[in-house]
């Protein structure tokens, strides 16, 4: 059972799956880092993005990797508008209200998808879905490897954005000291909405990378977002490197738990890590500022 021939591919596949988790978690941690709330609508957004990628392929014949360049900006705008015109004004600046509003938005999105498309599970067929790279001792699925590369590109882009642009500086300023940033003339409402937009765009990118090898139904995002919560908590809420490393770690844990405990109990490993980290070290393993 413990032979390297089984273990190493399981670990590699876990890392590749972790890369997709990283994208979802990146959006979540970005939003938490600035707004200091958990966005409970993140999973529903992922479901919506998966549906968008699905229909872009089915109706427009757009390859998911091409659709990415269309959907990322579209979801950026959606996220921006959602925070600027719904979540922000509805919650009156109260954190607990903001949590509830994101939950309400999640319920609305998820059930609108259910209402429109029913609970059917759908998949798309792309020619490269089952292509593999032979790396000597095992095979790696091409779409997963593309996902891994894309995650690092996105993370690099995010880092450049945060470090060298005005909006990046404004976001960091608001995350650090909201009142001070406001006094310095930064439009906090705009920064909040931009952050929400970037977080939502991450979800759209994740959806486009996921759809070639995955399926879509109205509740599909929930499975991911609970994993993403775990990653974000594990890596330290608001920490981008923490989210990346946490995601790869969780991907491997899930893959190994699935191997030893079976599919449905595999998730338990993730949740137990989640609860243990929350209870024992709520600032996360990387000790980001809480």
């Amino acid at each position: 059972m413990l032979s390297a021939a089984i273990l190493i591919p399981a670990i590699l596949n876990g890392l590749l799956m972790g890369a997709i988790y990283a994208l979802v978690a990146l959006g979540l941690t970005l939003i938490y880092g600035v707004l200091h709330i958990i966005n409970f609508a993140h999973g529903a957004m992922l479901s919506a993005a998966l549906f968008a990628a699905f229909f872009a392929f089915r109706l427009l014949g757009l390859d998911p990797y091409m659709a990415l360049f269309l959907l990322a900006p579209v979801f950026f705008v959606l996220g921006y508008a959602l925070q600027r015109f719904v979540i922000g004004p509805a919650s009156h600046g109260d954190d607990r209200n903001m949590l509830l509003v994101t939950l309400g938005v999640a319920v609305i999105i998820e059930n609108s998808l259910l209402y429109s498309f029913r609970a059917d599970t759908r998949t798309i067929d792309v020619p490269y879905a089952f292509q593999t790279f032979n790396i000597g001792f095992t095979y790696l699925a091409v779409p997963r490897v593309v996902g891994l590369v894309a995650v690092f590109v996105v993370a690099l882009g995010l880092w450049l954005l945060m470090t060298f642009t005005d909006i990046g500086r404004a976001i960091r300023a608001v995350a650090r000291e909201k009142l001070g940033a406001e006094l310095a003339g930064i439009d906090v409402g705009h920064v909040y909405a931009m952050t929400f937009g970037f977080g939502t765009a991450c979800v759209a990118i994740a959806a486009c990378l996921l759809i070639p090898t995955y399926y879509v139904n109205p509740g599909v995002g929930n499975a991911f977002v609970l994993v993403a919560f775990t990653i974000v908590v594990l890596g330290g809420m608001g920490s981008v490197p923490g989210a990346l490393i946490g995601a790869l770690f969780i991907g491997v844990v899930e893959s190994l738990c699935g191997l030893f405990l079976g599919e449905s109990l595999g998730q338990i490993g993730i949740f137990l890590i989640f609860i243990a980290v929350l209870l024992l070290r709520p600032t996360g393993l990387f000790g980001a500022r809480a």
Partner: protein, 326 residues
């Protein structure tokens, strides 16, 4: 000391309903509504009075439901003691989760997340463990009779759930006016200040979570007894976590009658939509989500708070007008 007047009056009025309404469908609707109100009152004790917003009250609902069902099906325990043990299990779980999470000082987003995680772990365990019937679920054998807590008439079930809701209203009133409640609300308003004044915040919050767990578990026990079937998706599903907090938030957090008012409004809206549009999956939840967002947006203190604000507003208008006329 104020008597428990308002609760008693509301329950007395509601108790007369089956004397007038005989339709099974209508009574069924009211029974389910009251059950959700009960679950919501449980949430309200911790969330409303204690300020700890749980996103996983399904943990208590499901535990109550499973404990009462499993005791009957697998251990031959009578339904009545089974019901009481189910409630006790909810209280114990609340105390346990509370002791763990509050010891770590989890608040806000973190508390919401950890409660959600506990509910999910229980759901996954229940969906695979043999004792819960795993994926098949647990079916309680049909044996009509008051001795087995299975009534032929909807009215009898209605009075049972109404009595439970009545008790929960009184618990909320007692919490509101007791020393314990004052500590709890002090912790909600400013935990550090309350601690500085000598309130043992951790113990107070943990006790609130135990009471909260017991009440929501009672709703779960009732569900099992009323429908005689549960599975992991029903008992520990997110639907009940959402509905429990929804009724309290919409009705008015931290008010005695908030969850009851919220449940009546929300469930009626769901029913009306169903009558107009027909049975469509997800539609009622779309309405619930929208109502949640709108209520927080327009009247953050919920319906009860909103009505109080409107009353004050009209009283002011009236006094201004009288001042002008006089």
């Amino acid at each position: 000391m104020r008597p428990l007047g308002p609760s008693v009056a509301v329950i007395a009025v509601l108790a007369a309903v089956p004397l007038v309404v005989h339709s099974n469908a209508a009574l069924n609707f009211l029974v389910v509504t009251l059950m959700i109100a009960l679950a919501g009152q449980g949430w309200n004790i911790l969330g409303g009075y204690g300020g700890q917003y749980s996103f996983g009250h399904a943990a208590f609902f499901g535990t109550g439901a499973y404990v009462t069902a499993i005791l009957q099906v697998r251990y031959g325990v009578n339904a009545w003691p089974g019901f009481v043990i189910g409630i006790a299990a909810g209280a114990a779980l609340g105390a346990a989760i509370g002791a763990l999470t509050f010891r770590s000082g989890l608040r806000g987003s973190y508390f919401a997340l950890v409660t959600l995680a506990f509910a999910e772990v229980l759901r996954i365990v229940a969906s695979v463990a043999p004792i819960t019937g795993a994926g098949v679920g647990t079916l309680i054998k049909l044996e009509l009779g008051a001795g087995t807590f299975q009534f032929q008439s909807r009215a009898a079930f209605y009075w049972v759930i109404l009595a439970l809701v009545g008790i929960s209203l009184m618990v909320a009133e007692l919490v509101e006016r007791s020393r314990f409640g004052t500590w709890l609300m002090a912790v909600r308003e400013n935990e550090d200040a309350a601690s500085a004044l000598g309130v043992d915040a951790r113990t107070v919050k943990t006790a609130a979570m135990a009471i909260s767990g017991a009440i929501t578990a009672a709703a779960g026990c009732f569900y099992a007894q009323y429908f005689l079937f549960i599975d992991s998706g029903i008992a520990y599903g997110t639907w009940i976590s959402v509905e429990a907090l929804l009724t309290a938030i919409i009705g008015g957090v931290g008010t005695v009658f908030g969850p009851l008012a919220g449940a009546l409004v929300v469930k009626s809206l769901g029913e009306v939509t169903r009558l107009i549009v027909g049975d469509a999956p997800g539609l009622d939840l779309i309405i619930y989500g929208a109502v949640l967002v709108i209520v927080i947006w327009v009247m953050p203190r919920g319906l009860i708070g909103g009505i109080a604000d409107a009353r004050k507003f009209f009283a002011r208008v009236r006094s201004v007008r009288e001042a002008h006329l006089g």
